[in-house]
């Protein structure tokens, strides 16, 4: 018997979830059409009436919503409830242009917390656990989400927030944290710091719930081994609620999407055509229980694959792969698609640390790709021939993976900025848009 927060929903037969989705979708479409002018206009433009949507099968008739729509409607344009019903806002770490602001009623917060509680219990969490949350608190959804989930489970919650590694480790050892919640890059950094201080035996961690940025299987093994834990992936986005839109179970073969709250579709990012299960494409979400900020057919830009293969954990909700790339984070260098995750895989395979930075420049109208990698004690040698030999192997492996040449630059340890929030992996110095 697995460890579930809401087994009656999480393990419900597919037909039951589908019936729930049909009913909630129809209601949600009617709701936004009646209460949100922005949706009404978009639906009218497309010639879709609320009564055209009678089940999930009709979902494809609705227009897509993109980040641009969210920016255009900023701040109140997509609000489906009076502002006086809202109790919270969260915001994305806006990289360019306007931030995206999401609103929550108390009911929205409760459901979000429940989604996170499911994730914590799927990672083996119980009321006897000490949940150490070092995602950032504040506008970022990471901290508040896992914090709320931990409360629902009844675990002792350490609202550490990000930063101050010394204090993190001190609390971890003194208070016996058992479940760590943070970004995978910070988990890797913490693991290194704990080992450096010789405190590996003093920590009681059994599991980690890591999300909010891309990470690879190699990085998972690295963290699991260094901390002696099981590392679980969690996925979410502020626009839809926050972390806990989907989460991993003990099978660690994809993340169960909370289908009673979110309908997932995978589309061809170029044509918008809905793809069958098992095909790779852009993930699209429709939030069917959100009150304040319901998004219909929101394009996440995350590329992934959905699977309905039966899961050994007993959960019946569809599983998504971790994002295999982002349609907008994808770099096009010399006309070739480059995903940072590909570079990370090569680095780890070749024995380098997962801490790296990709720098793209344009010299005389030609793209140049440089990968800065931190030197590690294992890769260092007193012999120049050995170091340059390994460097060449890395260049060759990158070329084999990416199909283009990338210059490798070995840099001093800890010289690449370690983010305690989201890692800055790519610096694109090309002036592509004539800014």
């Amino acid at each position: 018997m697995g460890n579930y927060y809401q087994p009656e929903i999480e393990c419900a037969p597919r037909e039951q979830i589908l019936a729930l989705q049909n009913e909630r979708l129809v209601k949600q479409v009617r709701n936004v059409y009646d209460h949100v002018e922005y949706y009404r206009k978009r639906m009218d433009e497309k010639g879709v009436k609320p009564e055209d949507i009678r089940s999930v099968e009709d979902l494809h008739k609705l227009p897509f919503l993109t980040k641009d729509d969210l920016r255009e409607a900023y701040p109140y344009g997509l609000l489906a409830r009076p502002l006086s019903d809202c109790v919270r806002i969260q915001s994305t770490s806006g990289t360019t242009g306007r931030r995206v602001v999401a609103f929550y009623t108390q009911h929205d917060i409760d459901l979000w917390d429940e989604c996170c509680a499911r994730a914590i219990m799927a990672a083996g969490g119980t009321k006897d656990d000490v949940v150490h949350v070092c995602y950032g608190y504040g506008l970022f959804t990471g901290g508040p989400g896992l914090n709320g989930g931990s409360h629902k489970v009844g675990s002792l919650t350490l609202p550490m927030s990000s930063g101050n590694t010394e204090r993190q480790i001190q609390f971890m050892t003194d208070l016996g944290s058992t479940i760590l919640c943070c970004t995978p890059s910070y988990a890797a950094y913490l693991a290194e710091s704990i080992i450096e201080r010789g405190l590996r035996d003093k920590i009681k961690l059994k599991a980690g719930i890591f999300g909010a940025e891309a990470w690879t299987e190699e990085m998972r093994h690295d963290i699991e081994e260094k901390l002696g834990i099981k590392a679980y992936d969690i996925y979410g986005l502020t626009e839809i609620s926050g972390p806990g839109v989907s989460f991993e179970c003990e099978e660690q073969t994809g993340m169960h999407i909370n289908e009673d709250h979110f309908i997932a579709e995978v589309i061809n990012p170029e044509t918008g055509e809905v793809l069958p299960e098992g095909e790779k494409g852009e993930l699209v979400f429709t939030s069917i229980t959100k009150e304040a900020f319901p998004l219909l057919r929101y394009r996440t830009r995350d590329i992934c694959i959905l699977s309905r293969k039966k899961c050994s954990c007993g959960r019946t909700h569809v599983k998504m792969t971790k994002p295999l790339g982002r349609s907008d984070d994808m770099l096009i260098v010399k006309g070739v698609n480059v995903f940072p995750s590909q570079i990370e895989t090569v680095l780890l395979n070749k024995g380098y640390a997962a801490n790296y930075q990709i720098i793209v420049t344009r010299v005389k109208n030609s793209d140049q790709l440089e990968v800065q990698v931190e030197m590690t004690p294992e890769m260092f040698s007193d012999s120049m021939g050995e170091i340059t030999g390994r460097e060449k192997e890395l260049v060759d492996a990158l070329k084999a993976m990416l199909g283009i040449y990338a210059k490798v630059k070995l840099v001093a340890p800890k010289s690449i900025q370690r983010s305690e929030g989201k890692a800055v992996r790519v610096i694109d110095k090309r002036d592509l848009y004539g800014k």
Binding site: M375, S381, D382, S383, G385, V411, P413
Partner: protein, 142 residues
């Protein structure tokens, strides 16, 4: 007889070498030999110091990547052909030389060279047989 060489990874950036020497100076470490092998982006700084353990410790504490390698410190008479003689010994015994560098001591008028070879044990043996004097870690302290 071997001595310990410390190698340090340094990025080729202005002031980086000075930072290493500052760390060592602050820890009161005396340097006998220093050699830098570098590419455009990074270098390997090789040092012979009086207290290699303390030097490695303090460098690691300052986030440097350090490795310690046994090397041979040969004392050669300050006369023409003496380096050639030493190199011939290695060649005759098929021992690969990785690099060598100059090593100054104030105690004698002889020249000193650090040899980093593929097979340190064998080189030590053949140099010994050929009558070369090799310095020990104790000799460094003078």
């Amino acid at each position: 007889m071997t001595i310990k060489q410390i190698s340090v990874f340094v990025e080729n950036k202005l002031g980086n070498l000075a930072e290493v020497t500052d760390v060592l100076a602050s820890a009161g470490i005396n340097m006998y030999a220093i050699s830098l092998a570098d590419t455009r982006d990074f270098g390997i700084l090789r040092l012979i110091v009086d207290d290699s353990f303390a030097a490695a410790q303090v460098l690691k504490e300052n986030n440097y990547i350090v490795s310690i390698t046994p090397v041979l410190a040969l004392e050669l008479p300050n006369e023409p052909g003496s380096l050639h003689k030493a190199l011939s010994v290695l060649e005759e015994n098929n021992i690969d030389l990785k690099y060598l560098y100059d090593f100054n001591t104030v105690t004698t008028r002889n020249a000193h060279l650090v040899f980093r070879v593929e097979d340190t044990k064998k080189a030590e043996e053949v140099f010994g047989k050929a009558g070369f004097r090799m310095l020990s870690q104790e000799d460094l302290k003078g």
